[in-house]
């Protein structure tokens, strides 16, 4: 039974022979898989939230209700002129009726629009520096100058949406944290079991002059390998799942799903996770071993 001897891999404690050596990588693989999905989800949500903010927060829409006997165009012009004079507003565009029709067509159908349907007039407002701008005051001014004009400020519902996004992100972060704690607990359990099974050998190593660090290093190397193995499996599976989600989402069309805005460095989190898991395992194993050995002479 002469196995080829690997140089510098001689383990006095023969940790690879443990049953935990078989279970730990798989348990850690599941942990890393879950952490990977939660982490990448939380990161990608960041891009999505930024997209919402960029697209919406710099915009306002003014809606002018159709009133019988009052032609729309002069009212639109009056409102647009008022808006152009407001500091903080960089651009004011009256939407042509055709554009308004195009917006409504998917809901009302082409036929309904054929008729002389009273449609509201819309003005697209682009904001610049909004520090000096009070939306409420502007809405009041607009209302008194052009009765029937309403300022649609998307900010309140955008804020709620962003809040929800941030909450989901925190949830993702919390899941990563919990998964990390559970992984650490597993490493502690496996390390303690390994120590208990080797009390005699450890006592002998101590008597020969081994410091606690020498014994801890063997456990560290062992769990680092286990975590690396589990981490690669878990991150690999997560990568497959994420690619599948992206492909499926692409197939459905971007309009329906908010979409995971994955950028290149989000993918970078995946290959980093096994290293993170190994680092966590090393620190946990070291602290566990040093703590347990303190009770030995």
């Amino acid at each position: 039974m002469s196995r080829p001897r690997k140089k510098a891999a001689i383990s006095d404690l023969q940790l690879d022979a443990d049953s935990t050596a078989r279970f730990l990588p798989w348990a850690l693989a599941v942990m890393v898989f879950l952490a990977a999905l939660a982490l990448v989800g939380a990161l990608a949500l960041d891009g999505t939230i930024d997209g919402w903010r960029r697209g919406v927060s710099a915009k306002l829409t003014v809606q002018i209700a159709d009133r019988p006997g009052q032609p729309m165009q002069p009212r639109l012009d009056a409102a647009a002129n008022l808006l152009r004079g407001v500091p903080g507003i960089t651009d004011v565009q009256i939407m042509p009726r055709r554009a308004v029709e195009a917006l409504l067509q998917p809901w009302l159908g082409a036929e309904a629009l054929q008729a002389d349907l009273p449609l509201p007039g819309l003005i697209d407002v682009t904001l610049g520096d909004t520090t000096a701008l009070s939306i409420d005051a502007l809405a009041a001014r607009l209302q008194s100058a052009v009765p029937g004009a309403r300022l649609d400020d998307p900010k309140p519902w955008l804020d709620r949406l962003v809040q929800l996004g941030r909450l989901l992100q925190s949830l993702g972060g919390g899941i990563v944290l919990l998964v990390g704690l559970a992984a650490a607990a597993m490493v502690i359990f496996a390390t303690r079991a390994g120590l208990a099974a080797r009390r005699d050998t450890i006592e002998l190593l101590h008597l020969i002059g081994a410091e606690d660090g020498y014994i801890a290093r063997q456990f560290q190397r062992h769990v680092a390998r286990q975590a690396m193995r589990g981490g690669i499996i878990g991150a690999g599976l997560a990568a497959i799942v994420l690619v599948a989600i992206q492909l499926l989402a692409g197939g459905v069309g971007t309009g329906l799903l908010p979409g995971l805005s994955m950028v290149w460095w989000h993918w970078l989190a995946l290959p980093l996770l096994p290293f993170g898991a190994a680092g966590l395992a090393i620190v946990t194993a070291r602290l566990t071993v040093l703590g347990e050995l303190r009770s030995m002479l």
């Binding site: 002469s2 001897r5 140089k7 510098a8 001689i10 006095d12 023969q14 022979a17 005699d200 050998t201 006592e203 002998l204 190593l205 101590h206 008597l207 020969i208 002059g209 081994a210 410091e211 606690d212 020498y214 303190r294 002479l297």
Partner: protein
């Protein structure tokens, strides 16, 4: 180098297994340790190789008070002590070579040099062709020689051996005794626990005799036979 002063040792609330033990071991000294079973030999050896701390009294080793030394200070002291355990305590999954190299590896010695040194020593104790053998495939005598090689490989200042010649034939016992004597001549203090009265007669070193937990030292009238 080693000084015991009124050392007492008890396990838990039990009676004292060692009582008022006082002695000194100088550099290059050689002592046999004798006494009937249960007299406290093993406990005395355990105190000497720092597997136990005394219940009372003072133990000083290499200029350090062992009774109060911190845990962190023990490894460096232990590296100066070589121990041959009665049950050998070899690591079953390591080859003879790796077992013997263990103290050097723990002390951080250069692997290549250590290996040469280990092969040389194992060859000297007649195990040059058993370097890669695991303990399970070694005979009792061979295991004992591996255990002795492991104890002396790092040239300890103090060598403690519990019945180190108990499992080998008389020729090999002589050979091993000469190894201890040679090591002793190089300055290693040796304490050798044995029941073998022939050894006591042949090598007339002082004998530490334990009886019911108390120690007396018999000094031979004539000098050592060798």
């Amino acid at each position: 180098m080693v000084r015991f002063q009124n050392v007492g040792m008890r396990y838990g609330p039990g009676p004292e297994v060692l009582r008022d033990v006082s002695f000194e071991l100088g550099t290059g000294s050689f002592h046999f340790l004798a006494g009937p079973s249960g007299a406290g030999k093993t406990s005395l050896l355990k105190l000497l190789y720092l597997a136990l701390r005394p219940s009372r009294g003072l133990i000083s080793m290499f200029g350090q008070d062992v009774s109060t030394a911190s845990r962190a200070a023990l490894p460096m002291l232990r590296r100066r002590i070589g121990v041959v355990f009665q049950d050998f305590r070899l690591l079953d999954h390591l080859s003879a070579l790796d077992n013997v190299a263990l103290p050097l590896r723990i002390a951080g010695a250069d692997e290549k040099k250590a290996r040469e040194h280990v092969i040389e020593l194992l060859t000297w104790v007649g195990l040059g062709d058993r370097l890669d053998a695991r303990p399970a495939t070694l005979s009792g005598g061979e295991k004992q020689r591996v255990a002795i090689a492991r104890a002396v490989i790092a040239r300890p200042s103090l060598l403690l051996a519990d019945e180190p010649t108990g499992n080998v034939d008389p020729d090999m016992a002589q050979r091993l005794m000469y190894l201890f004597v040679e090591l002793n001549k190089l300055g290693t203090a040796v304490v050798l626990a044995t029941h073998d009265t022939h050894l006591l007669d042949q090598f007339r070193f002082p004998v530490m005799r334990l009886r019911a937990g108390q120690l007396v030292i018999d000094r031979p009238t004539a000098g050592p036979a060798r």
